[in-house]
Symmetry: C2
Subunit: 283 residues, 2 copies
Protein backbone atom coordinates (compact mmCIF):
# COMPACT_ATOMS: atom_id res chain seq x y z
CA UNK A 1 0.00 0.00 0.00
CA UNK A 2 1.85 3.07 -1.21
CA UNK A 3 -0.67 5.89 -1.53
CA UNK A 4 0.13 9.14 0.29
CA UNK A 5 -1.53 12.52 0.45
CA UNK A 6 1.06 15.30 0.15
CA UNK A 7 0.55 19.00 0.77
CA UNK A 8 3.33 21.56 0.53
CA UNK A 9 3.15 24.95 2.17
CA UNK A 10 6.61 26.42 1.74
CA UNK A 11 8.03 25.37 -1.62
CA UNK A 12 8.65 21.67 -1.01
CA UNK A 13 8.07 21.61 2.75
CA UNK A 14 4.88 20.02 3.89
CA UNK A 15 2.82 17.18 5.12
CA UNK A 16 2.62 13.55 4.10
CA UNK A 17 -0.24 11.33 5.25
CA UNK A 18 -0.63 7.65 4.52
CA UNK A 19 -3.87 7.03 2.64
CA UNK A 20 -5.82 3.81 2.18
CA UNK A 21 -8.16 5.03 -0.55
CA UNK A 22 -10.03 7.93 -2.07
CA UNK A 23 -13.65 7.89 -0.85
CA UNK A 24 -15.07 10.99 -2.54
CA UNK A 25 -13.93 13.31 -5.29
CA UNK A 26 -16.04 15.96 -6.94
CA UNK A 27 -15.12 19.02 -8.93
CA UNK A 28 -17.95 21.31 -7.87
CA UNK A 29 -18.72 24.70 -9.44
CA UNK A 30 -16.45 26.14 -6.76
CA UNK A 31 -13.64 23.74 -5.94
CA UNK A 32 -12.32 20.19 -5.84
CA UNK A 33 -13.74 18.44 -2.77
CA UNK A 34 -12.12 15.16 -1.77
CA UNK A 35 -12.30 12.73 1.13
CA UNK A 36 -9.63 10.13 1.84
CA UNK A 37 -9.55 7.23 4.22
CA UNK A 38 -6.20 7.58 6.00
CA UNK A 39 -4.04 5.17 7.97
CA UNK A 40 -4.28 6.89 11.35
CA UNK A 41 -6.34 10.11 11.15
CA UNK A 42 -9.70 8.64 10.21
CA UNK A 43 -11.27 10.21 7.15
CA UNK A 44 -9.69 13.36 5.78
CA UNK A 45 -11.38 16.10 3.73
CA UNK A 46 -9.36 18.28 1.40
CA UNK A 47 -10.45 21.20 -0.78
CA UNK A 48 -8.33 22.09 -3.79
CA UNK A 49 -5.52 19.99 -2.34
CA UNK A 50 -5.52 21.62 1.10
CA UNK A 51 -6.41 19.75 4.30
CA UNK A 52 -9.67 20.98 5.80
CA UNK A 53 -10.04 18.44 8.60
CA UNK A 54 -9.48 14.87 9.66
CA UNK A 55 -11.73 13.01 12.06
CA UNK A 56 -8.88 12.73 14.56
CA UNK A 57 -7.65 16.34 14.69
CA UNK A 58 -10.71 18.43 13.85
CA UNK A 59 -11.57 19.02 17.49
CA UNK A 60 -8.76 21.54 17.87
CA UNK A 61 -9.87 23.83 15.08
CA UNK A 62 -13.58 23.64 15.84
CA UNK A 63 -13.29 24.07 19.59
CA UNK A 64 -10.90 27.00 19.28
CA UNK A 65 -12.77 28.81 16.51
CA UNK A 66 -16.06 28.50 18.39
CA UNK A 67 -15.70 28.72 22.16
CA UNK A 68 -13.28 31.66 22.33
CA UNK A 69 -15.90 33.74 20.54
CA UNK A 70 -19.06 32.37 22.11
CA UNK A 71 -17.82 32.80 25.67
CA UNK A 72 -16.64 36.32 24.88
CA UNK A 73 -20.21 37.32 24.01
CA UNK A 74 -22.33 37.93 27.15
CA UNK A 75 -25.43 36.23 25.70
CA UNK A 76 -24.99 34.56 22.31
CA UNK A 77 -28.44 33.69 20.95
CA UNK A 78 -28.13 34.15 17.19
CA UNK A 79 -25.00 32.71 15.59
CA UNK A 80 -23.96 32.86 11.93
CA UNK A 81 -21.34 30.51 10.48
CA UNK A 82 -19.86 31.44 7.11
CA UNK A 83 -18.48 28.27 5.51
CA UNK A 84 -18.16 25.44 8.00
CA UNK A 85 -19.85 22.92 5.71
CA UNK A 86 -18.45 19.93 7.57
CA UNK A 87 -20.68 20.87 10.51
CA UNK A 88 -17.96 20.76 13.18
CA UNK A 89 -18.27 24.41 14.09
CA UNK A 90 -22.06 24.06 14.31
CA UNK A 91 -21.54 21.10 16.65
CA UNK A 92 -19.44 23.21 19.00
CA UNK A 93 -21.85 26.16 18.82
CA UNK A 94 -24.71 23.80 19.66
CA UNK A 95 -23.08 22.95 23.01
CA UNK A 96 -24.04 26.45 24.21
CA UNK A 97 -27.58 26.20 25.61
CA UNK A 98 -28.20 29.92 25.24
CA UNK A 99 -27.95 29.72 21.47
CA UNK A 100 -31.39 29.81 19.86
CA UNK A 101 -30.51 29.88 16.18
CA UNK A 102 -27.53 28.76 14.12
CA UNK A 103 -27.41 29.81 10.48
CA UNK A 104 -24.67 28.12 8.47
CA UNK A 105 -24.04 29.63 5.05
CA UNK A 106 -21.96 27.14 3.07
CA UNK A 107 -21.64 28.05 -0.59
CA UNK A 108 -20.90 24.48 -1.70
CA UNK A 109 -23.57 21.85 -0.98
CA UNK A 110 -21.06 19.14 -1.95
CA UNK A 111 -19.06 19.87 1.21
CA UNK A 112 -22.12 19.24 3.35
CA UNK A 113 -23.11 16.16 1.34
CA UNK A 114 -19.62 14.63 1.54
CA UNK A 115 -19.35 15.45 5.25
CA UNK A 116 -22.68 13.85 6.12
CA UNK A 117 -21.64 10.68 4.31
CA UNK A 118 -17.96 10.38 5.15
CA UNK A 119 -17.48 12.45 8.32
CA UNK A 120 -20.74 11.53 10.06
CA UNK A 121 -19.45 12.09 13.59
CA UNK A 122 -18.25 15.63 12.89
CA UNK A 123 -21.36 17.63 12.08
CA UNK A 124 -24.37 18.49 14.26
CA UNK A 125 -26.74 18.53 11.30
CA UNK A 126 -29.68 17.20 13.31
CA UNK A 127 -29.72 20.08 15.79
CA UNK A 128 -33.12 21.75 15.50
CA UNK A 129 -31.59 25.21 15.88
CA UNK A 130 -29.45 24.76 12.74
CA UNK A 131 -30.37 26.08 9.28
CA UNK A 132 -28.02 25.20 6.44
CA UNK A 133 -28.12 27.73 3.61
CA UNK A 134 -26.28 27.18 0.33
CA UNK A 135 -25.47 30.71 -0.74
CA UNK A 136 -22.49 32.98 -1.18
CA UNK A 137 -21.57 33.93 2.39
CA UNK A 138 -20.41 37.40 1.44
CA UNK A 139 -23.70 38.27 -0.29
CA UNK A 140 -25.65 36.70 2.55
CA UNK A 141 -23.97 38.93 5.11
CA UNK A 142 -24.28 41.98 2.88
CA UNK A 143 -28.04 41.50 2.51
CA UNK A 144 -28.72 40.36 6.07
CA UNK A 145 -31.66 41.97 7.89
CA UNK A 146 -31.72 40.50 11.41
CA UNK A 147 -28.34 40.85 13.12
CA UNK A 148 -26.33 38.12 14.82
CA UNK A 149 -24.63 38.06 18.21
CA UNK A 150 -21.72 36.02 16.94
CA UNK A 151 -20.36 35.48 13.42
CA UNK A 152 -17.82 32.72 12.80
CA UNK A 153 -15.77 32.79 9.59
CA UNK A 154 -14.95 29.16 8.92
CA UNK A 155 -13.75 29.40 5.35
CA UNK A 156 -10.91 27.77 3.47
CA UNK A 157 -7.66 29.37 2.36
CA UNK A 158 -7.51 32.74 0.56
CA UNK A 159 -7.55 31.25 -2.92
CA UNK A 160 -10.70 30.36 -4.85
CA UNK A 161 -14.15 30.96 -3.36
CA UNK A 162 -12.82 31.98 0.09
CA UNK A 163 -10.65 34.81 -1.24
CA UNK A 164 -13.27 37.42 -0.45
CA UNK A 165 -13.30 36.32 3.19
CA UNK A 166 -9.95 38.08 3.57
CA UNK A 167 -11.17 41.46 2.23
CA UNK A 168 -12.17 44.57 4.16
CA UNK A 169 -15.55 44.89 2.41
CA UNK A 170 -16.59 41.55 3.87
CA UNK A 171 -15.68 42.58 7.42
CA UNK A 172 -17.63 45.80 6.95
CA UNK A 173 -20.73 43.79 6.00
CA UNK A 174 -20.10 41.59 9.04
CA UNK A 175 -19.94 44.66 11.28
CA UNK A 176 -23.33 45.76 10.05
CA UNK A 177 -24.69 42.24 10.52
CA UNK A 178 -23.67 42.11 14.20
CA UNK A 179 -25.67 43.18 17.25
CA UNK A 180 -24.45 45.92 19.58
CA UNK A 181 -22.13 43.65 21.53
CA UNK A 182 -21.39 41.48 18.50
CA UNK A 183 -18.37 39.18 18.39
CA UNK A 184 -16.66 37.70 15.33
CA UNK A 185 -14.04 34.96 15.05
CA UNK A 186 -12.20 33.92 11.89
CA UNK A 187 -9.51 31.49 10.83
CA UNK A 188 -6.50 33.47 9.62
CA UNK A 189 -3.93 30.97 8.34
CA UNK A 190 -0.50 29.84 9.60
CA UNK A 191 2.11 32.30 10.87
CA UNK A 192 4.82 29.93 9.63
CA UNK A 193 3.84 30.37 5.97
CA UNK A 194 5.26 33.58 4.48
CA UNK A 195 2.96 33.42 1.46
CA UNK A 196 -0.01 33.95 3.83
CA UNK A 197 1.42 37.05 5.50
CA UNK A 198 -0.25 39.55 3.20
CA UNK A 199 -3.65 37.89 3.75
CA UNK A 200 -3.14 37.84 7.53
CA UNK A 201 -2.10 41.49 7.54
CA UNK A 202 -5.03 42.51 5.35
CA UNK A 203 -7.56 40.87 7.67
CA UNK A 204 -6.11 42.27 10.88
CA UNK A 205 -5.74 45.75 9.40
CA UNK A 206 -9.39 45.66 8.33
CA UNK A 207 -10.49 44.46 11.76
CA UNK A 208 -8.39 47.15 13.47
CA UNK A 209 -10.01 49.81 11.31
CA UNK A 210 -13.55 48.58 11.90
CA UNK A 211 -13.88 47.03 15.35
CA UNK A 212 -13.27 48.18 18.93
CA UNK A 213 -11.53 44.96 19.99
CA UNK A 214 -9.23 42.86 17.82
CA UNK A 215 -6.81 40.10 18.78
CA UNK A 216 -5.00 37.16 17.24
CA UNK A 217 -4.85 33.82 19.00
CA UNK A 218 -3.22 30.50 18.18
CA UNK A 219 -3.89 26.77 18.15
CA UNK A 220 -1.82 23.63 17.55
CA UNK A 221 -3.34 21.87 14.52
CA UNK A 222 -1.15 18.94 13.46
CA UNK A 223 -2.41 18.55 9.88
CA UNK A 224 -2.39 22.25 9.00
CA UNK A 225 0.78 23.84 7.59
CA UNK A 226 3.57 23.83 10.19
CA UNK A 227 1.13 22.74 12.91
CA UNK A 228 0.46 26.32 14.03
CA UNK A 229 -2.74 28.12 13.14
CA UNK A 230 -3.90 31.65 13.82
CA UNK A 231 -7.40 32.92 14.43
CA UNK A 232 -8.88 36.36 14.97
CA UNK A 233 -11.39 37.48 17.54
CA UNK A 234 -12.89 40.90 17.10
CA UNK A 235 -15.91 42.61 18.62
CA UNK A 236 -17.88 45.80 19.13
CA UNK A 237 -17.01 45.78 22.82
CA UNK A 238 -16.69 42.45 24.68
CA UNK A 239 -13.10 41.48 25.41
CA UNK A 240 -11.88 37.89 25.26
CA UNK A 241 -9.68 38.24 28.34
CA UNK A 242 -11.97 40.29 30.59
CA UNK A 243 -12.95 39.01 34.02
CA UNK A 244 -16.55 38.66 32.79
CA UNK A 245 -15.48 36.52 29.84
CA UNK A 246 -13.23 34.31 31.97
CA UNK A 247 -16.10 33.80 34.42
CA UNK A 248 -18.34 32.75 31.57
CA UNK A 249 -15.69 30.31 30.35
CA UNK A 250 -15.46 28.72 33.77
CA UNK A 251 -19.22 28.44 34.27
CA UNK A 252 -19.80 27.24 30.72
CA UNK A 253 -17.18 24.53 30.85
CA UNK A 254 -18.70 23.18 34.04
CA UNK A 255 -21.85 22.53 32.01
CA UNK A 256 -20.05 20.91 29.09
CA UNK A 257 -18.52 18.22 31.28
CA UNK A 258 -15.67 16.28 29.73
CA UNK A 259 -16.78 16.68 26.12
CA UNK A 260 -13.96 18.94 24.96
CA UNK A 261 -10.55 17.63 23.96
CA UNK A 262 -8.60 20.87 23.58
CA UNK A 263 -10.26 24.01 24.92
CA UNK A 264 -10.18 24.90 28.60
CA UNK A 265 -9.85 28.06 30.69
CA UNK A 266 -6.05 28.08 30.63
CA UNK A 267 -5.98 27.45 26.89
CA UNK A 268 -8.49 30.27 26.32
CA UNK A 269 -6.07 32.75 27.88
CA UNK A 270 -2.80 31.13 26.85
CA UNK A 271 -3.76 31.08 23.17
CA UNK A 272 -3.37 34.86 23.08
CA UNK A 273 0.35 34.66 23.94
CA UNK A 274 1.96 35.44 20.59
CA UNK A 275 5.60 34.53 19.98
CA UNK A 276 7.69 37.50 18.86
CA UNK A 277 7.87 36.46 15.21
CA UNK A 278 4.07 36.15 15.11
CA UNK A 279 3.48 39.53 16.74
CA UNK A 280 5.89 40.99 14.19
CA UNK A 281 3.66 39.87 11.31
CA UNK A 282 0.94 42.15 12.65
CA UNK A 283 3.14 45.25 12.91
Amino acid sequence: MALTYNEFYNERTGLTIGVKRLLFSEQTPYQLVEVYETDTWGNLMTIDGMVMLSEKDEFVYHEMLTHVGLFTHPKPERVLIIGGGDGGTAREVARHDQVKRIDMVEIDEAVVRASKEFLPEVGAFDDSRLQVIHEDGIKFVQNNKEPYDVIIIDGSDPVGPAEGLFEKDFYTYCYDALTEEGVLTAQTESPWVPSYYSSIQKVFQALDDLYAVNKMYLAYIPLYPAGMWSMAITSKGPKPLSVDTLNRVQQGLDQFGDDLNYYNEAVHSGAFALPNFVADILQ
Copy 2:
Protein backbone atom coordinates in the same frame (compact mmCIF):
# COMPACT_ATOMS: atom_id res chain seq x y z
CA MET B 1 15.78 18.80 -8.39
CA ALA B 2 13.82 16.06 -6.72
CA LEU B 3 15.51 15.28 -3.40
CA THR B 4 13.32 15.39 -0.30
CA TYR B 5 13.93 14.61 3.35
CA ASN B 6 11.03 12.60 4.78
CA GLU B 7 10.33 11.81 8.42
CA PHE B 8 7.29 9.91 9.60
CA TYR B 9 6.02 10.08 13.16
CA ASN B 10 2.70 8.25 13.08
CA GLU B 11 2.89 5.32 10.65
CA ARG B 12 3.06 7.19 7.33
CA THR B 13 2.22 10.69 8.59
CA GLY B 14 5.08 13.09 8.66
CA LEU B 15 7.18 15.83 7.26
CA THR B 16 8.62 16.40 3.81
CA ILE B 17 11.32 19.02 3.23
CA GLY B 18 12.87 19.93 -0.10
CA VAL B 19 16.60 19.30 -0.02
CA LYS B 20 19.33 20.66 -2.28
CA ARG B 21 22.10 18.33 -1.14
CA LEU B 22 23.62 16.32 1.64
CA LEU B 23 26.44 18.30 3.26
CA PHE B 24 27.57 15.92 6.01
CA SER B 25 26.97 12.29 6.85
CA GLU B 26 28.80 10.32 9.48
CA GLN B 27 27.94 7.13 11.28
CA THR B 28 29.55 7.86 14.63
CA PRO B 29 29.95 5.32 17.46
CA TYR B 30 26.58 6.57 18.71
CA GLN B 31 24.34 7.54 15.80
CA LEU B 32 24.01 8.70 12.21
CA VAL B 33 24.61 12.46 12.05
CA GLU B 34 23.59 14.23 8.87
CA VAL B 35 23.31 17.81 7.63
CA TYR B 36 21.30 18.79 4.58
CA GLU B 37 21.08 22.03 2.68
CA THR B 38 17.33 22.64 2.31
CA ASP B 39 15.29 24.79 -0.03
CA THR B 40 13.84 27.16 2.55
CA TRP B 41 14.97 26.23 6.08
CA GLY B 42 18.70 26.81 5.74
CA ASN B 43 20.84 23.86 6.81
CA LEU B 44 19.12 21.03 8.62
CA MET B 45 20.70 18.55 11.05
CA THR B 46 19.21 15.12 11.57
CA ILE B 47 20.23 12.31 13.90
CA ASP B 48 19.20 8.78 13.04
CA GLY B 49 16.67 10.19 10.60
CA MET B 50 15.02 12.59 13.05
CA VAL B 51 15.12 16.37 12.65
CA MET B 52 17.21 18.03 15.35
CA LEU B 53 17.17 21.60 14.06
CA SER B 54 17.17 23.82 11.01
CA GLU B 55 18.77 27.23 10.89
CA LYS B 56 15.37 28.85 10.35
CA ASP B 57 13.33 27.24 13.11
CA GLU B 58 15.88 26.42 15.84
CA PHE B 59 15.18 29.63 17.74
CA VAL B 60 11.88 28.26 19.05
CA TYR B 61 13.33 25.17 20.66
CA HIS B 62 16.44 26.83 22.07
CA GLU B 63 14.71 29.91 23.45
CA MET B 64 11.96 27.88 25.07
CA LEU B 65 14.18 25.18 26.54
CA THR B 66 16.52 27.79 28.02
CA HIS B 67 14.78 30.94 29.18
CA VAL B 68 11.82 29.34 30.95
CA GLY B 69 14.31 27.60 33.23
CA LEU B 70 16.92 30.30 33.62
CA PHE B 71 14.41 32.97 34.59
CA THR B 72 12.76 30.59 37.04
CA HIS B 73 16.03 30.29 38.98
CA PRO B 74 16.65 33.35 41.19
CA LYS B 75 20.37 33.52 40.40
CA PRO B 76 21.62 31.07 37.77
CA GLU B 77 25.42 31.07 37.85
CA ARG B 78 26.40 27.49 37.04
CA VAL B 79 24.54 25.87 34.16
CA LEU B 80 24.88 22.32 32.84
CA ILE B 81 23.64 21.31 29.39
CA ILE B 82 23.28 17.59 28.68
CA GLY B 83 23.43 17.09 24.92
CA GLY B 84 22.95 20.33 23.02
CA GLY B 85 25.91 19.71 20.73
CA ASP B 86 24.72 22.20 18.13
CA GLY B 87 25.43 24.98 20.62
CA GLY B 88 22.05 26.70 20.31
CA THR B 89 21.08 26.15 23.93
CA ALA B 90 24.49 27.42 25.07
CA ARG B 91 23.92 30.54 22.95
CA GLU B 92 20.64 31.25 24.74
CA VAL B 93 22.16 30.53 28.17
CA ALA B 94 25.01 32.92 27.35
CA ARG B 95 22.53 35.80 27.01
CA HIS B 96 22.10 35.71 30.80
CA ASP B 97 24.84 37.94 32.26
CA GLN B 98 24.60 36.30 35.69
CA VAL B 99 25.79 32.97 34.32
CA LYS B 100 29.45 32.36 35.17
CA ARG B 101 29.98 28.87 33.84
CA ILE B 102 28.30 26.75 31.14
CA ASP B 103 29.26 23.08 30.96
CA MET B 104 27.95 21.30 27.88
CA VAL B 105 28.25 17.52 27.98
CA GLU B 106 27.72 16.23 24.45
CA ILE B 107 28.52 12.56 24.07
CA ASP B 108 29.16 12.81 20.33
CA GLU B 109 31.95 15.13 19.17
CA ALA B 110 30.74 14.74 15.58
CA VAL B 111 27.60 16.73 16.43
CA VAL B 112 29.73 19.64 17.60
CA ARG B 113 32.10 19.33 14.63
CA ALA B 114 29.27 19.24 12.08
CA SER B 115 27.49 22.12 13.80
CA LYS B 116 30.56 24.34 13.85
CA GLU B 117 31.08 23.76 10.14
CA PHE B 118 27.52 23.70 8.78
CA LEU B 119 25.42 25.56 11.38
CA PRO B 120 27.95 28.26 12.26
CA GLU B 121 25.38 30.85 13.32
CA VAL B 122 23.68 28.54 15.81
CA GLY B 123 26.28 27.81 18.47
CA ALA B 124 27.97 30.16 20.94
CA PHE B 125 31.16 28.10 20.99
CA ASP B 126 33.39 31.15 21.47
CA ASP B 127 31.83 32.20 24.76
CA SER B 128 34.58 32.12 27.38
CA ARG B 129 32.19 30.70 30.00
CA LEU B 130 31.53 27.57 27.91
CA GLN B 131 33.30 24.24 28.38
CA VAL B 132 32.43 21.48 25.92
CA ILE B 133 32.92 18.00 27.37
CA HIS B 134 32.58 14.86 25.26
CA GLU B 135 31.36 12.31 27.77
CA ASP B 136 28.27 10.29 28.56
CA GLY B 137 25.92 12.86 30.10
CA ILE B 138 24.36 10.37 32.48
CA LYS B 139 27.72 9.30 33.94
CA PHE B 140 28.84 12.93 34.09
CA VAL B 141 25.85 13.89 36.21
CA GLN B 142 26.19 10.78 38.36
CA ASN B 143 29.82 11.59 39.19
CA ASN B 144 29.42 15.35 39.48
CA LYS B 145 31.01 17.06 42.50
CA GLU B 146 30.16 20.76 42.25
CA PRO B 147 26.41 21.29 41.85
CA TYR B 148 24.66 23.38 39.21
CA ASP B 149 21.93 25.98 39.54
CA VAL B 150 20.27 24.93 36.29
CA ILE B 151 20.47 21.70 34.29
CA ILE B 152 19.08 21.61 30.74
CA ILE B 153 18.38 18.24 29.13
CA ASP B 154 18.80 18.88 25.42
CA GLY B 155 18.96 15.33 24.13
CA SER B 156 17.48 13.60 21.13
CA ASP B 157 14.56 11.20 21.05
CA PRO B 158 14.23 8.23 23.43
CA VAL B 159 15.89 5.74 21.12
CA GLY B 160 19.63 5.17 20.91
CA PRO B 161 22.05 7.09 23.13
CA ALA B 162 19.39 9.42 24.53
CA GLU B 163 17.21 6.60 25.86
CA GLY B 164 18.64 6.91 29.38
CA LEU B 165 17.63 10.58 29.47
CA PHE B 166 14.04 9.40 29.93
CA GLU B 167 14.78 7.17 32.96
CA LYS B 168 14.19 7.90 36.65
CA ASP B 169 17.78 7.07 37.62
CA PHE B 170 19.02 9.91 35.49
CA TYR B 171 16.67 12.44 37.10
CA THR B 172 17.79 11.21 40.53
CA TYR B 173 21.41 11.95 39.61
CA CYS B 174 20.29 15.36 38.33
CA TYR B 175 18.57 16.08 41.63
CA ASP B 176 21.80 15.40 43.48
CA ALA B 177 23.72 17.55 41.00
CA LEU B 178 21.50 20.60 41.58
CA THR B 179 21.94 23.36 44.16
CA GLU B 180 19.31 24.05 46.79
CA GLU B 181 17.09 26.11 44.52
CA GLY B 182 18.07 24.09 41.48
CA VAL B 183 15.96 24.15 38.30
CA LEU B 184 15.90 21.61 35.47
CA THR B 185 14.32 21.78 32.02
CA ALA B 186 14.08 18.95 29.51
CA GLN B 187 12.64 18.30 26.08
CA THR B 188 9.88 15.71 26.39
CA GLU B 189 8.64 14.93 22.85
CA SER B 190 5.40 15.63 20.99
CA PRO B 191 1.99 15.14 22.60
CA TRP B 192 0.59 14.31 19.15
CA VAL B 193 2.67 11.14 18.83
CA PRO B 194 1.13 8.20 20.71
CA SER B 195 4.34 6.18 20.53
CA TYR B 196 6.02 8.79 22.76
CA TYR B 197 3.36 8.70 25.48
CA SER B 198 5.07 6.09 27.60
CA SER B 199 8.34 8.07 27.54
CA ILE B 200 6.53 11.29 28.42
CA GLN B 201 4.69 9.59 31.26
CA LYS B 202 7.85 8.00 32.59
CA VAL B 203 9.70 11.32 32.73
CA PHE B 204 6.88 13.24 34.39
CA GLN B 205 6.24 10.46 36.91
CA ALA B 206 9.92 10.47 37.84
CA LEU B 207 9.96 14.25 38.17
CA ASP B 208 6.79 14.17 40.28
CA ASP B 209 8.36 11.63 42.59
CA LEU B 210 11.63 13.51 42.97
CA TYR B 211 11.06 17.25 42.72
CA ALA B 212 8.93 19.79 44.57
CA VAL B 213 7.79 21.58 41.41
CA ASN B 214 7.04 19.91 38.08
CA LYS B 215 5.21 21.26 35.05
CA MET B 216 4.88 20.61 31.33
CA TYR B 217 4.93 23.46 28.85
CA LEU B 218 4.58 23.63 25.07
CA ALA B 219 6.11 25.25 22.01
CA TYR B 220 5.24 25.43 18.30
CA ILE B 221 8.15 23.82 16.41
CA PRO B 222 7.29 23.49 12.71
CA LEU B 223 9.82 20.79 11.77
CA TYR B 224 9.18 18.55 14.78
CA PRO B 225 6.46 15.89 14.64
CA ALA B 226 3.02 17.51 14.37
CA GLY B 227 4.51 20.94 15.09
CA MET B 228 3.81 20.69 18.83
CA TRP B 229 6.56 19.98 21.32
CA SER B 230 6.47 19.49 25.06
CA MET B 231 9.10 20.40 27.63
CA ALA B 232 9.38 19.88 31.37
CA ILE B 233 10.42 22.34 34.03
CA THR B 234 11.08 20.97 37.46
CA SER B 235 12.81 22.39 40.51
CA LYS B 236 13.60 22.07 44.20
CA GLY B 237 11.49 25.14 44.96
CA PRO B 238 11.36 28.01 42.44
CA LYS B 239 8.11 28.14 40.49
CA PRO B 240 7.97 29.12 36.82
CA LEU B 241 4.78 31.18 37.23
CA SER B 242 5.53 32.92 40.54
CA VAL B 243 5.48 36.70 40.76
CA ASP B 244 9.24 36.64 41.38
CA THR B 245 9.88 34.61 38.25
CA LEU B 246 7.65 36.81 36.10
CA ASN B 247 9.45 39.89 37.42
CA ARG B 248 12.77 38.33 36.46
CA VAL B 249 11.42 37.56 32.98
CA GLN B 250 10.37 41.16 32.50
CA GLN B 251 13.64 42.63 33.75
CA GLY B 252 15.74 40.13 31.86
CA LEU B 253 14.01 40.64 28.56
CA ASP B 254 14.56 44.38 28.86
CA GLN B 255 18.28 43.64 28.82
CA PHE B 256 18.12 41.23 25.87
CA GLY B 257 16.60 43.87 23.60
CA ASP B 258 15.11 42.55 20.37
CA ASP B 259 17.31 39.49 20.08
CA LEU B 260 14.64 36.85 20.71
CA ASN B 261 12.25 35.64 18.03
CA TYR B 262 9.85 33.53 20.09
CA TYR B 263 10.08 33.89 23.86
CA ASN B 264 8.46 36.78 25.69
CA GLU B 265 6.63 37.29 28.97
CA ALA B 266 3.22 36.30 27.60
CA VAL B 267 4.68 33.22 25.93
CA HIS B 268 6.43 32.21 29.17
CA SER B 269 3.07 32.03 30.94
CA GLY B 270 0.92 30.95 28.00
CA ALA B 271 3.12 27.95 27.24
CA PHE B 272 1.85 26.28 30.42
CA ALA B 273 -1.74 26.20 29.16
CA LEU B 274 -2.18 22.53 28.28
CA PRO B 275 -4.99 21.43 25.97
CA ASN B 276 -7.21 18.76 27.51
CA PHE B 277 -5.80 15.90 25.47
CA VAL B 278 -2.26 16.87 26.54
CA ALA B 279 -3.16 17.13 30.21
CA ASP B 280 -4.77 13.70 29.88
CA ILE B 281 -1.44 12.15 28.87
CA LEU B 282 -0.06 13.09 32.27
CA GLN B 283 -2.90 11.54 34.28
